[in-house]
Amino acid sequence: MAQETPDRVSKKFLYVNCKAPHGTIYALESLEVVLIGAAFEQDVSLAFVGDGVYQLTKGQDTKGIEMKNFSPTFRALEDYDVTKLYVEQEALQARGLTEADLVVPVEVVSAQRMAEIMESQDVILSF
């Protein structure tokens, strides 16, 4: 699974997001890892399962709670060559959401497909 390149090994990194934003800091701080990690030229994927899908919803206005709205940052991931964003279909449906409700293009996948993606990873970071 790990590919040798002249400079360094390239591993498949998966960031698993299961938690909603703002109620806890995990969503924000895990995104910070993704951004820093992007410089290491690894094969990065992000998975959004359960309440993690809420991190991607449009229309987040955090002024009232005086917190940072970091949802626009997901749109910037493309500039960091982080383009593999997988969202659990059942999680969206259970929450009355569709892909149109999300701030960034994603690949909506079934649980089975998500399991396949997870199984193929070298390093899995959960927060």
């Binding site: 360094r8 090994v9 591993k11 990194f13 800091i25 995990y26 701080e29 910070e32 890892v33 820093i36 990690g37 410089a39 290491f40 690894q42 390093v123 899995i124 970071l125 959960s126 927060f127």
Partner: protein
């Protein structure tokens, strides 16, 4: 094998730091190597030397410091998470005009790149959280 360990929660409130410590100890006893233990989110609070737990309870911070000294472990506290939560070494305290620092022996403050690097260099990365 070389293990990377990520600790996402602080001492006592969650069992994460305990389980991570026991795992590290067991891995070392089996002759494995711990490449790095990285502390993130509230996990940075495992690195403060100011804890005074009850005498009849385990001393989580000291336990990590002692294990690090015994096995030359690299215990790294994330600088961004540490700044948010008020964990400083002397250099950081000076840089930010704070009147004290509080990092425990055996811990060092560094960037998130150290976590990614651990993921790359170690054979396995194990995450302990809350």
């Amino acid at each position: 094998m070389k293990f990377g360990i990520l600790v996402n929660e602080g001492p006592y409130t969650h069992e994460a730091s305990d389980t991570a410590y026991q795992f590290a100890k067991a891995a070392l006893a089996k002759g494995h190597e711990i490449y790095r233990v990285f502390f993130y989110h509230d996990g940075v609070n495992n690195g403060t030397r100011l804890t005074v737990p009850p005498q009849d309870e385990r001393n989580i911070v000291k336990r990590w410091s002692d294990l690090a000294a015994q096995h030359k472990l690299d215990l790294v506290v994330c600088i961004a998470a540490a700044q948010r939560r008020g964990l400083m070494d002397a250099a950081e305290a000076k840089r930010h005009g704070k009147d004290a620092d509080n990092i425990a022996p055996g811990f060092r403050i560094s960037g998130l790149g150290q976590l990614i690097e651990a993921g790359i260099q170690a054979d396995r990365l194990v995450v302990f959280g809350g």
